[in-house]
Structure formats: structure tokens, C-alpha cells
Symmetry: C2
Subunit: 449 residues, 2 copies
């Protein structure tokens, strides 16, 4: 019922042993999020277009839906595929405000779609893992620390599968207060210009600060000095204060950023660091305090693989405002470049730890019964598809990466199980045998680049 | 950034305590599928339109995509959202034929979309859980038994959460052979007419068999007699043979159906039955042997909540043909009517088993440390959002269904944990305490209708 097609650019698909990598990462993140009390939800894939178009920047990337056989005069369905999980979450909170308990911690691991030009790390369909906390009217600051901590733990729980990762943190109050403190006429304009530091050389940014930001040479220099500050500990605060700018909002921002960096300190390792990065601005204008971006060492070309921050009004229905803070981790963004380069893969292409051999077609019931006893102990098992020579059955297992082949004993003889990697073969009882822990489930294997 | 919207008809969304139900069902199915060696994959949400339109019946239900800001002259993206998981799987097999090991067992749990009129059990966005086995050139019959068995075990593993379920099975060879045996001029036309038995009274179907199927009165009567046969054991075979029709294809079909019913016998219980249903035809013409449908007692208005069968050519690239056999379980179709009527819900709205109380804001680090020690033992915990009176903190836990509240000991005193349902409060150490097994994770609660 299907004939071959070229694969669609920007819509990546994984082979079974690659899917194991993504599944492992998603399961690990979910486990961490749930340990911290975050409730899982899913939102529908579509949103009304007027919702999706409120974020001007991405309007040209939305996929609009229409029914193929729309009736005469029927317009587009007025819906598009969501391009992130934040817009749908905000809408979900408003739709269900009367039924949710606030503060509401949620995680959401789902696909999103953007019609942009595909390139490495940029896909038209991709999976994100988001955590957010939202409250009614007011959201205490300690939740900024909490979401940073939870995402940091989630990523750290992946151990050394990923390259060293950094969660860069900054605070809008800090930088806005600083720009105000130096006398910038329009601090939010300065934020927009400073945000270009990852694309333009420092001198070009300084020129823009002067020409478009209305700053003096000296003020522009101060802004660049602030942006140069980066520290994996609270030492950043002294560096900021050494610039001798004073402003109450700046002080609040410093205190908040210190809290986030301190709150995550115990998660830091040589594989994962939370870093105060004072150049981090995030262009979008709805962030009002903490801002985050996630980076993967050696993959700077991808820019950030995640990000987020504090919104004082994640959602509002006119009467009530719902402030939120959250971080999104780009699952596809992070993993697909690693999987694509062969740096991560599953140890086998099937869940089975055991292939039960089949002596002849008449023995299928016997082999099935052995497999059922193994499964009853939580050991994934499959029975050989055909009663080929045992050598062929072993190669069948080998090609799938199945570590053990089970030989049911003939005529009262004991069963035997063979580790096909070592060739060791021992007697075993399917009612009690289990493989070594590492072999029970497919593992994720990492190759050095 | 978002204002309230009426929810979109046909795009259901769940509250957190409802999502727990769906997650539990998906996790249970996945666990069963993996124990049997089925590999998980996901396919992209979109397929080229020409692929989607090959199944004529559903062409008017496809959602077509277009980029909102398509460039001048740019047509529709030529893609639509998939309406099932079979068409994408067939295409995936062809795309990756050189990289897959055959026979290939896969499960796929994903959303699909149809632009049809929403009604109970019929959604525009819905989740399905599919298992299929596909092979190159030839697929041994025992896989028909296997997929029936695996899906039966998956559903049976849900215990009594669902109403009693039936997996109805029939065989195209059996009925086609029977119709040939009685001398029907066009057996496949008879199949199409018999398929209407779930919509039309028997007499109306008999009339159609005579008028459109070209049968005599006596032949039409025999067809209806066959369709009346239904049995939860292999007794159906004698009933068919008592109709005294002989045909070699009929005999093959009887043997195959006996094998499926026998192979699933040990899964049968008062909650779940595999039933040979000789009226089951499934209209689609690509089924060539075994056919399945899943029914939920008391929800006959939904018709089937799943189905599938054997395709002799699931996919073909012109040179090689890929026969398959599979079953799809409608996760949304089954669960949403139950959840919507309040028959199933999660025991709490958050994963947390413990709320760690907060004496005052200065104690937040202490309470956080307790929560971290609990999490290190796999116990999901959250810290109270604000240092309210303890009575208020207990009600905070109650509203979310969190069963335990933890009180860190002040000044060297031991910590205490309170079961807020019984009121029992005991001393406990966060490094070793775990809740009773039933309380560790949210459970799924069932209300009698």
C-alpha cells in the first residue's frame, strides 16, 4: 500500500536503535521532573491562528491547517500547528484556571513544528521538554531557583551521554538596572542591541549602542564590560559591583542571580555547569527577570539548545494575571546532531534481552512457554522466527544486538542459556534466571568523537 | 501573552489527574510490547499527500499543511497530517528497508489527526497504540497469533480499569472460502455487504446479498448463519463445519482462526476475551487473512476501539513486497469516554507523594534538603510554596491528593511524617523512609458507573 519516497527535509526520523537514545533521554527527564512534583500534561498540537501570531517573530514559520475536502466557502480551519510549548501552556492555564491548583508545576514533552529552512539542529518537526511553574497574581522568586535546579538535575542525570553542557543564566532586572544606573536613555533598547553580541563583533555592538542606543562612548564601554562577565559561581556579583554602578533594580537583579547560581551549585560538575553569563539577554520582550539558555560544548554552531525565563504575565484573562517561570530543553536539537554523527546509539535495535531458539516448528509452544516465563520475571524475550540451524539463530540475535540465546532442553534435559558475546553457555531455569542488570534493557552507547 | 479561548471541538485535552490515566495506560502497553521484543519507533506527523490519499475512504478527512507566509507561487506544502499509524509505518519500512532487520516487530504510540465531525469517541486528534510485525517477501502465520496475543496481554495487563474488553477475530480466507463454497458469484462483494451487519438489520443485509450480491435465498441464509457464529473457544470450528460447506480456502481459514483463538486462550478472563466472530469482515480491501476488532462492553455506541489484521502487502517497492500483520488500539477512543464520565481518574493531580512543610522562609534550605533526600530514594516530593500555618499547608497537600506531609524537626528534634488521610504522625528519617508501595506513585482510580 506504499511505495518509496525521498525523506522529507527537516522531518527527522530515527531507526530503532537510535530511537532508544531519545526514549532514554525523555524517560530520564520525565523521571527527574516527576521526582520534583511536576505534573505531566499534553496539549493539542493545534492552536487558533490568532494565538500563534501574537509572537510576531515566528509568524512566518507557522504551518496552517486546512481540511482537504473543505466545503464550499469553508476557509482555512483557522488553526495552525504550535511552534513551541509555551503558547499552548499559557492557553491551557487560562482554559483550565478554575480546575488547576496554583502554584502549578507542569512538564510537557511533545513535538512542535516550524516551517523554517532546515539546517543542522533546526528542524521542521522537533521534540521539546518543558518545565514551568505558574501561579495566580504572584509567583514567589524561589521558583526561579527551582526550575533552574530541576532542569540542571534532569540534564545532569544523563551523566556523560551528552557533551559538557552549560546552563547560562542572567537576570533582566540586573541588566536593565545597570543600564538605567549608567544613565541609558532607553534601557530596553540597549537590551535588544546587547542581544546581538552572539552575532556581531563587540565593536559593531558598541557602535550600535552609540548610534541607536543613544549612549556615550563611556556608557557603551560599561555595557560591554558588564557583558563580558561570566562566572560559574557567585563571584560574578563582585565583578558587577566593581563597575561601580548603583541602582535599586540592579541590586535586586544581582540578589536574584546569586540565588539561582547558589541554588544550583551542588549540581555543578565537569560535565554540567550553571554559569552566570551577563551577556545573555534573550531578545523576546516578555521576560521580566531570570533568563536561561542551554549550550552544548563543541556544538556552538547550534547556538542554544534550550532556554527560558521568568514571565510576569505568562497568561492573563484581563482580570487575573498568571506569572510563570520555565525552561525548555530541545530534545531533538540536542540529540539529533549527536545521533546523526554516530556519537550516540542504542546497544541493540530491539528491547529483547533473550532470543529463545527454536529446534523445529513443532517446538514453538515449548519455546513460547520459555519466553513467557522469562517475561514474567521482567526479561524481554522473543522466539526465533524460524527453526533455522542454531548458528543462524545466533546470528539472528547478533544482528539485533540481543545478548543471550536460550536453548530449551530436549526431553527432560535442562535448558541452557548462551551469552553470545563471550560464548559462555550455562544451564538455567527460565523461572528464575535474569541477565546481569546492564543487559536487562538496551543501553545507550557513546562513541568519542 | 494569552487570553481565554473556547476549547476546540474534537481536540480533547486532559487535566493533570486525568493525564495520569492516559500515561498509565500508555506505560503499561509499552511495557508489555517491549517484553515481547517489539521495538518502539516514532514517525513524523506528516506524510506526502499522495501517500495519504491512496486510501480513498479517508481522503476527505486529511488536514493539509501550508506555510502561513508561503512565498509567491508556493503551493501547499504537499503534506498532510497522518490519519493513522499504518500508512506512515509502511512508508518507514520502505524508506529504511536496507537498515532494518526482518522480521521487524515494532510498536508505535502516537497522535493522529482526522478532520471528521467530532462525536463521542471520534476525535480530530487522538492517540493510538499500534503493534505490527512485517517481513520481507513472506511473513509466517505464527505472527498473526503473536500480535493477537501481545495486544491481548497488553489490554489484560490493565486489569479491571477498563470495562470488560473483547478482541473479536475472524479470517478473510475463512469467509471468502465459505462464500466460494456456497457458489457466490463474487465473494468479495459478499464480504462488503456482510460488513454492513453492524449497521443494518439482518433482513436488510439478506436483501442486499440477493439483490446486489447475486445470491439465492438459500445462499443468503447460509451467509447469515455463518455470520451468527461467535465463540470464545475453538468450538466455532464445529459450528462452521456443521453448515456443510466445503472449500480448501475455508479449511485454511478455519485452521488459522483456531490457531489465533488457541494461542490467546490463556489470556482470557471475565475481563477480557478473545472471541471468534464470524460476522467480522472489516470493509477495507487490503486485509488478506486474520482480521481483528476490539470492543468495550457497555460502549457499543463507539463501535470498535481498535482493529487490524494481516496484509499480504503492507508495503511494496515494486520489486520486494513486505507482508505485515498488526493491531491498533485506540487509546483516546477507549479512555476519553471513561475519563469524561468520571469513571477513571488519577489518585492525585501531582506526582508528589510528600509535601515537605515549611516553618518559615528562612527554613527553605532545610526543607529543600529533606525533599532532596526523599528524591534520592525515588520518592517524589515538593516543598510548600509558602510558610503558611501548617493547617493550610496540609490543605494544600489535600487539594492535590498528596498523601504525606513531612515536618522537618526543629533544633535537633527528629523529623515527623503525617499520613493526612489517617492523621497518623510518626518520626521518620528522610534518608530511609519510603511510603507504602501504593502511595509511591499516583494510582488510577476507578468509579463504578
Amino acid at each position: 500500500m506504499s511505495s518509496p519516497r525521498a525523506s522529507l527535509s527537516g522531518f527527522p526520523e530515527l531507526l530503532p536503535d537510535q530511537h532508544i537514545v531519545e526514549q532514554h533521554v525523555v524517560d530520564t527527564l520525565r523521571h527527574t521532573f516527576e521526582l520534583h512534583g511536576f505534573a505531566g500534561i499534553e496539549t493539542r498540537a493545534v492552536e487558533p491562528l490568532d494565538q500563534l501570531l501574537r509572537k510576531g517573530e515566528t509568524s512566518n514559520e507557522v504551518y496552517v491547517l486546512r481540511r482537504l475536502q473543505a466545503e464550499a466557502g469553508e476557509a482555512d480551519a483557522g488553526m495552525g500547528l504550535h511552534f513551541d510549548l509555551t503558547v499552548p501552556f499559557a492557553r491551557y492555564v487560562l482554559d483550565n484556571a478554575g480546575k488547576l491548583e496554583f502554584p502549578f508545576r507542569r512538564y510537557q514533552i511533545q513535538k512542535a513544528w516550524r516551517g523554517e529552512r532546515p539546517q543542522e539542529g533546526r528542524f521542521r518537526e522537533f521534540t521539546q521538554a518543558d518545565i514551568d511553574v505558574v501561579d495566580r497574581d504572584e509567583l514567589p522568586f524561589h521558583f526561579d531557583v527551582e526550575v533552574a535546579r530541576v532542569m540542571a538535575e534532569g540534564i545532569a542525570a544523563l551523566g556523560d551521554l551528552l557533551p559538557p553542557m552549560r546552563l547560562r543564566v542572567n537576570n533582566r532586572k540586573l541588566i536593565e538596572g545597570f543600564y538605567r544606573g549608567i544613565g541609558a536613555p532607553d534601557p530596553s533598547r540597549v537590551i535588544t542591541i546587547i542581544d546581538k553580541l552572539d552575532k556581531l563583533p563587540a565593536q559593531a555592538v558598541a557602535d550600535l549602542l552609540i548610534e541607536e542606543g543613544g549612549l556615550t562612548d563611556a556608557q557603551a564601554k560599561q555595557c560591554l564590560q558588564l557583558a563580558e562577565i561570566e562566572a560559574a559561581d557567585v563571584g560574578f556579583a563582585d565583578q558587577v559591583r566593581s563597575l561601580a554602578v548603583t541602582d535599586p533594580l540592579l541590586e535586586t537583579g544581582i540578589d536574584e542571580l546569586v540565588s539561582v547560581v547558589e541554588g544550583c551549585a551542588s549540581v555543578n560538575s565537569d560535565r554540567f555547569q550553571v554559569v552566570a553569563s551577563l551577556s545573555l539577554a534573550r531578545g523576546l520582550d516578555y521576560y521580566t527577570g531570570t533568563v536561561f539558555e542551554i549550550y552544548m560544548d563543541g556544538f556552538e554552531n547550534l547556538k542554544s539548545v534550550g532556554g527560558g525565563g521568568r514571565y510576569d504575565a505568562l497568561a492573563s484573562d484581563g482580570k487575573t494575571s498568571y506569572p510563570g517561570v520555565g525552561i525548555s530543553f530541545g530534545v531533538s536539537r540536542t540529540l539529533l546532531p549527536l545521533i546523526g554523527r554516530g556519537l550516540l546509539r542504542g546497544s541493540r535495535s530491539v528491547p529483547s534481552a533473550v532470543l529463545v531458539a527454536l529446534a523445529d516448528e513443532e517446538s514453538r509452544d515449548t519455546s513460547n512457554a520459555v519466553a513467557q516465563r522469562l517475561r514474567a520475571n521482567g526479561v524481554a524475550a522473543e522466539v526465533a522466527a524460524a527453526p533455522q540451524r542454531f548458528g543462524k539463530q545466533i546470528r539472528y540475535a547478533e544482528r539485533r544486538g540481543i545478548p543471550f540465546v536460550w536453548f530449551p532442553g530436549a526431553e527432560g534435559a535442562a535448558d541452557q542459556v548462551k551469552d553470545i558475546r563471550s560464548g559462555d553457555q550455562v544451564e538455567a531455569d527460565p523461572g528464575s534466571w535474569t541477565p546481569p542488570g546492564d543487559d536487562l534493557r538496551p543501553a545507550v552507547l557513546k562513541e568519542d568523537p
